[in-house]
Amino acid sequence: MRLHEYQAKDIFGEAGIPVPESQLADSVEGVLDAVSTIGYPAAIKAQVHVGGRGKAGGIKIATSEEEARDAAESILGMDLKGYTVDRVLVEQGVDFVDEYYVGVTMDRGAGEPVAMVSTKGGVDIEAVAEDDPEAIAREHIDPAFGLQPYQARKVVYDAGVPAEYARDVSSILSALYELYEANDASDIEINPVMITGDDDVIAADAVMNIDEDALFRQPDLADMEEDASQNDLERKAGEYGFDYVRLSGNTGIIGNGAGLVMATLDLVDYYGGTPANFLDVGGGAKADRIGNALDMVFADENVESVVFNIFGGITRGDEVAKGINEALEDFEEIPKPVVVRLAGTNAEEGMEILNTDLVQVEATLEDAVQRAVANAEEVAQ
């Protein structure tokens, strides 16, 4: 779960990390109010979960009321890579002489967090990592000990931060690591940390991704989550508690277990179809959950055909069959053709229960996917 910049900056500011003065606004008037307090130059920044906001026109600098109004009018309501901009952060413009990158993330290969600092900040850090990996200094953090002060200094010196800023930058890194731990972050970064003309050190951006598995113990962050998801289908999936990703194809896919669902998507592609989504009902799904999954997939207007692929372990084939029957019996007409493949626990019982007036049944994964792809092509024609 990714926080908005303004949310992350609030958290950073409370932790004592210097952030520019800023105010959230959801209207042109709000923006003008904000700039009248903050002064010029001011940055008007779209608050959406999209990378490369600047290039896409989601960030503008205003040096006058007129520019502020223009910026507010052009950004508020705009569509940024599929997300509508409802809110902007109005922020004090910072005059800077240098930009660094500072971040903490989990190095899954090492199984421990890693602190990263680079003097090549203010640019796409992934590109730096790719093109000039030496430009990023890294220090692994033993999770039992946490980031030690000497480590925070070491990685800052290793990155080549000049001595006059080293203390401030390592303090920011230490504060970031505290936040990383305290908030169950999966990533936390500032890109850029700006060195101002007055030699101050300030966090000009703020990225914070939270481990969704830890939201149960981060109630304040969990409250921010609803706010953050702006896509209807994703919100619906969140309510149902599904792992769901919408894709651009026309074959809806429902399965149990991430690996098997991904393999099913891959098979749709392999047989010439296009997956409309990833939907994992998880382990041990009962009838009503199966109904919800169908509801999800039918809600996607792109879907022309659906394939169910369930290999029962904890999930029982009879429950799945019951759920499919109940969900489809409610329709006067089945919206889209549904192909079902059941295997594993209670698969035979499920096959017996399944109302074959409502669905098509296939015995193997390969056959089921091929039929669903064919159905989608047929409908599309």
Binding site: M106, R108, F216, D243, A258, F278, F311, E366
Partner: protein, 289 residues
């Protein structure tokens, strides 16, 4: 032979009094697994499915000479449960729980490096040596004893591949679901190493998925250290970059590693054929035998 578990494995079930714990204890017992104890704080002295329950893993291990544990404890407490198990000198801990916070696992991982216990999981279906012992939630009936080792990051995908193998009359020495989380105990390499050392394992099926670099590292390991032939499968070829696909591990970072392509190329370079469909994994294995 087999790897990690066999008929002599003596199992304590952590969280045995919960719904999942109780159900799968019954299933494991029915499969013939030597479940000797349960451990649940405050429930010491009770019995579940005829198995005595203790307040702590330590007591359970002491009283019943357990050699392995299976963890069915809810995510909020699973890290602590694994930590507890790691402090009792067991040979093996299998953590089934899905949704354990990653930072909890980082801490567990550190402790893991200090002890001699193997951890499988979390967020995994467990491990089975067909006909001998099942630790976890795998549906026992689809497995057959035989000479193929299987290691997979995914649960149900494993079942798919196993059923294809079994349908062809190819049995398994041991099948291991290592789990799909960012931080797990037993890695592909650990499992491959164990299978390589097992004289009865004549071929290995390895099912990976997008995210992380475990498959790439495994490919390197195979090229450098293994004689036993390996056939692979990688799920997530069609996953778009940056999207989370169920497993916390299944995220394509977009930074050149972790993609299906990078994994497939690495495996192919190591001489591992990578199947296009789950069904073809069994075909490739058949070709080896």
């Amino acid at each position: 032979m087999s790897v990690f578990v066999d008929e002599d494995t003596r199992v304590v079930v952590q969280g045995i009094t919960g719904g999942e714990g109780e159900f799968h204890t019954e299933q494991m017992l029915a499969y013939g697994t030597n479940v000797v104890a349960g451990a649940v704080p405050g429930k010491g002295g009770q019995e579940v499915a005829g198995v005595p329950v203790y307040d702590t893993v330590d007591e359970a291990v002491d009283a019943e000479d357990a050699t392995a544990s299976v963890v069915f404890v809810p995510p909020a407490f699973a890290g602590d449960a694994v930590f507890e198990a790691l402090d009792t000198n067991l040979d093996l801990v299998v953590a089934i729980t899905e949704g354990v916070p990653t930072q909890d696992m980082a801490t567990v991982n550190k402790r893991l490096s200090e002890v001699d216990t193997n951890l499988i999981g979390p967020n995994c279906p467990g491990i089975i040596t067909p006909g001998e012992a099942k630790l976890g939630i795998l549906p026992g009936n689809i497995f057959e004893a035989g000479n193929v080792g299987l290691v997979s990051r995914s649960g149900t995908l494993t079942y798919q591949v196993v059923s294809n193998l079994t349908d062809r009359g190819i049995g398994q020495t041991t099948a291991i679901g290592i789990g799909g989380d960012p931080i797990i105990g037993t890695s592909f390499i650990d499992a491959l190493e164990a299978f390589e050392a097992d004289p009865e394992t004549d071929a290995i099926a390895m099912c990976g998925e997008i995210g992380g670099e475990d498959e790439e590292q495994a490919a390197k390991y195979i090229a450098e250290n293994m004689d036993t032939p390996v056939a692979g499968f990688i799920a997530g070829r069609t996953a778009p970059p940056g999207k989370r696909m169920g497993h916390a591990g299944a995220i394509v970072s977009g930074s050149g590693t972790g993609t299906a392509d990078s994994k497939i190329t690495a495996l192919n370079d190591a001489g591992v054929p990578v199947a296009d469909t789950p069904g073809e994994v069994a075909e490739a294995i058949d070709d080896f035998l």
